[in-house]
């Protein structure tokens, strides 16, 4: 029997038995936050510490308790039918639960995250998939997927999308790869990805380009992880020079997040390196800048104070302190000051040759 199904049944049985013994049932969830993770650079990702929150069934928790049980029942149904439901669909299914329905999707997402963490599985194993797109891929890579109806293998050549790109599916677990590329370049913005793709940057540098479109989705993170592990290729990340690009995007890709710490092990890319843009680049390349916003400053200070990843890497502490001292941020596109293709002809080739200018 499916492991997740067993976990659902066990946990429901616990609740039932407790009630029959006239005791208040409880559920235990690991706390999902940066305070409850540890970072060991050797392992390379955020691991969950032991702290758990116990939710006892009382008048105040009866609604969440009911919703959790009903979502577990829905997960069981989806798994048994070998079907899937998107997060949005789950939210809509709840609209049929009368008083127990979710008013907004963030409520149902939170319950889903709780169940995920409680069972230490990822939501795809619960039969639920995200809405978000996985990310775009172009370059020297052949992805081997299955045709959904015939089940036969399909070879997808990522050099053959012209000015478009291959799009990462939400479940990447069964994909296979063929590539001789030297490295993967993961890019924050779709605009920069498009520029590099249009000028076939991947051809000249024998690489794979991936557009993350902001904070990478789990599928995108897992795709990069599996591809880089199996084909033993390096991963370089190219983001805006601001605390969001450094912490929310790069750090999440490399070591995972506090919120999804129970699955970070599989959804992170510990070997990723930060290519740019760094605060030092802003000085070296005389980039145009904008002042840091209050939220940027807060984010950088929080990271310096609370983020176990930053605390383990002096280089990052220096970089964030330099950025705070300069008081400015710079976007990837700021390189266009020196000409639209300066990034292709000068910046990236120079940076690739000079690993000392990267951040860990």
């Amino acid at each position: 029997m499916n492991k997740t199904l067993l976990k659902i049944k066990h946990s429901a049985k616990d609740v039932y038995d407790k009630i029959m013994k006239k005791q208040k049932p409880i559920m235990k969830f690991p706390i999902r936050s940066l305070n409850n993770v540890k970072y060991d650079p050797k392992k390379g990702y955020f691991e969950l510490l032991g702290t758990k929150k116990v939710r006892t069934l009382t008048v105040n928790t009866v609604k969440t308790f009911a919703q959790t049980l009903r979502m577990m029942a829905l997960s069981k149904e989806v798994i048994e039918k070998d079907d899937i439901a998107t997060k949005r669909e789950v939210y809509y299914v709840s609209k049929n639960w009368e008083d127990a329905k979710f008013n907004e999707q963030p409520e149902s997402d939170t319950v889903m995250d709780d169940i995920e963490a409680m069972f230490a599985v990822n939501r795809e194993q619960l039969g639920f998939i995200p809405e978000e797109k996985g990310g775009d891929v172009a370059g020297k890579l052949i992805v081997i997927d299955k045709d959904p109806t015939s089940g036969k293998g399909v070879r997808i050549d990522c050099t053959k999308f012209g000015s478009g790109a291959y799009s990462v599916p939400s479940d990447v677990e069964n994909l296979k790869f063929e590539t001789k590329a030297k490295f993967i370049l993961a890019i924050e913005t779709a605009g920069m990805f498009e520029r590099l793709n249009r000028h076939q940057f991947w051809k000249k540098h024998n690489c794979i380009l991936i557009s993350m479109g902001g904070v990478p989705s789990r599928a995108c993170r897992r795709f990069i992880r599996r591809l880089s592990d199996e084909k033993k290729i390096d991963v370089y990340v190219f983001c805006d020079n601001d605390p969001y690009g450094h912490m929310n995007i790069y750090r999440t890709l490399k070591v995972g997040s506090g919120n999804a710490a129970h699955i970070n092990e599989y959804f992170c890319v510990p070997k990723a390196k930060y290519l740019g843009v760094t605060p030092q680049d802003v000085i070296d390349y005389k980039l145009p800048t904008h002042p840091l916003k209050d939220v940027d400053i807060k984010r950088a200070k929080d990271a310096l104070k609370n983020d176990p990843f930053v605390q383990n890497h002096k280089e990052w502490q220096k970089a964030l302190q330099l950025m705070l001292k300069m008081g400015v941020r710079a976007e990837q596109q700021a390189l266009a000051k020196w000409g639209l293709n300066y990034v292709i002809e000068n910046y990236l080739p120079e940076k690739l040759k000079n690993p000392k200018s990267w951040l860990p």
């Binding site: 009630i19 105040n60 127990a100």
Partner: protein, 516 residues
């Protein structure tokens, strides 16, 4: 003879008339700006009307009208059903500053210094050039008198412009019309709010208000019970200041110092009078008029060192707990009312009495600071809230103990109106505009005691309400969500209907028994 510098200066030195003083210091009397000028005028006229009606023992029916004449010019009309004023007194009362019946006696009344209404007449005259129009009638068979009056600003004497007999339907009463430069303002410190608060603290009064625009508003009386008539008392030795003492020594009819002390003050027995004289090293049979300044000072100091019984307190007329609640109920829609009347107490030889009331819930907005209604001798105090001893007492009471939220050094917040009334033969205002109470520790202590008692009753009400809400919420939560726990477990564990029912029954018991 050569002229000295002093001679030259003497040419410029002259008596400053009280009216000139007023024009230069109008802020002292509540005429700082056009908005306040309008309010002060109405306040003085209404105070006088209410005092007059109560002295006569009739239930007051007051009309207040404001007409806008031009952008910054208004006509104020206040009419009452009081005893009216005799012919000779009319010009002096309305057109001579510092003339009145209340300044010389010590008893609880609204107006106190007698400067009020004539100041409004003069203000109107200075800003518009118009005279004040007075109509008064003292009885059904008397004829009504009509006067047009000016204040002579040099001599502070009334100038009569018109004096005639007119027809007036009323049996008795007084009507005053004053034109003045003013600005009309609605809202928290507006005329309507002032009248509304007056109606709360005086539930025996009916007020008809006709604003410059919009419909007439009626504040109807909630009781026919007249307030107990306040008694006049003699000053208590502890309450007089040196200057006052010297004046009393000069004016007294008593032949000896001892009889002066016994007859002109309250609570001074022959024994106490002797003791004072001994301490002051003065002969008890001296003629009061011959006491020199230095001796008066000794007398003044001696008084402080002799133990004298507190003044009688039966001279005070509080609103009363029932009537405070009636007053609040008729003007404020709330779900809970309470009030406390403290026993009388004394500050500096002056008897006073504190009352407090609270209205809570109902239509009152829940997330704002509470509204504080301050009253002195039944008159609402609308300005200078921050400087007032009442505000200080409310702020320094710990309302969080009583179920309201409160930030440090601020009024509490919640759906609540707090009323505080101080009644006294001599209310210690911080300035002549009579808008805030001075910070005497005895007064603050009494206010806080009254507020704490109200607070305890409020807390008990809030607790009961919260408990009822919690119980209702608990019940509805259990009814709403328990079935879904049943559905979830049934779907996962494939429970039989009987198993599900049995489980839910147990669970319901568990939840209902638990306190959380």
């Amino acid at each position: 003879m050569t002229k000295t510098r002093a001679d030259e200066l003497a040419k410029k030195q002259r008596e400053i008339s009280i009216s000139e003083f007023f024009t230069k210091n109008r802020h002292l009397l509540g005429f700082d700006n056009p908005i306040k000028a309008l309010m002060t005028t109405i306040k003085e006229a209404v105070d006088n009307s209410l005092d007059a009606c109560e002295e006569m023992g009739v239930l007051p029916d007051i009309y207040v009208g404001i007409r806008q004449l031009s952008e910054d010019r208004f006509k104020v009309i206040v009419e009452d059903n009081g005893p009216g004023i005799v012919k000779e007194q009319i010009p002096k009362i309305f057109a001579k500053l510092l003339y009145g019946s209340k300044f010389h006696k010590l008893s609880q009344s609204r107006g106190q210094q007698g400067i009020g209404i004539s100041a409004s007449v003069m203000y109107g005259q200075l800003t518009t050039g118009k005279s004040a129009k007075i109509t008064s009638k003292t009885g059904p068979r008397k004829s009504a008198l009509f006067y047009e009056l000016h204040v002579d600003t040099k001599t502070n004497d009334p100038e009569i412009l018109k004096d005639q007999v007119v027809e007036w339907k009323k049996d008795h009463g007084t009507r005053i019309e004053i034109d003045l430069e003013a600005k009309y303002q609605k809202g928290k410190r507006g005329v309507e709010e002032y009248l509304k608060q007056t109606a709360i603290a005086n539930p025996h009064v009916t007020i008809t208000y006709s604003p410059p625009s919009g419909e007439e508003i009626k504040f109807l009386r909630a009781t026919k019970e007249m307030p107990k008539e306040p008694k006049e008392i003699k000053p208590h030795p502890y309450g007089v200041e040196l200057g006052m003492l010297i004046k009393m020594l000069k004016d007294t009819k008593a032949k000896t110092l001892q009889s002066f002390l016994m007859n002109d003050f309250s609570r001074v027995s022959a024994k106490v009078a002797k003791e004072i004289c001994e301490k002051a090293k003065l002969y008890e049979r001296s003629r009061p008029g011959r006491i020199a300044a230095q001796e008066a000072d000794n007398l003044f100091k001696a008084i402080k060192n002799v133990k004298i019984m507190n003044p009688p307190t039966n001279c005070i007329s509080p609103i009363g707990e029932d009537l405070i609640i009636k007053g609040l109920k008729k003007e404020i829609n709330a779900s809970f009312y309470t009030s406390v009347t403290r026993p009388p107490s004394v500050y500096r030889g002056n008897p006073f009495q504190i009352e407090a009331g609270i209205a809570y819930g109902g239509d009152l907005p829940g997330d704002e600071l509470v509204r504080l209604l301050r009253f002195a001798n039944r008159v609402p105090l609308l300005y200078q809230q921050g400087a007032c001893a009442i505000t200080k007492s409310v702020v320094s009471t710990l309302w969080r103990n009583y179920g309201l939220s409160q930030s440090r050094g601020a009024l509490p917040s919640g759906p609540c109106v707090i009323l505080v009334h101080i009644a006294s033969v001599w209310v210690p205002f911080t300035s002549e505009s009579k808008e805030s109470i001075a910070h005497y520790p005895e007064i603050i202590k009494e206010i806080k005691l009254a507020l704490q008692e109200c607070g305890r009753r409020l807390a008990s009400h809030i607790r009961k309400r919260k408990k009822a809400e919690h119980e209702a919420k608990k019940k509805s939560y259990i009814e709403k969500y328990l079935p879904h726990i049943g559905v979830g477990l049934r779907d996962i564990l494939k429970l039989k209907e009987s198993e599900e029912k049995k489980m839910l029954k147990i669970l319901k018991d568990i939840l209902e028994r638990s306190r959380k």
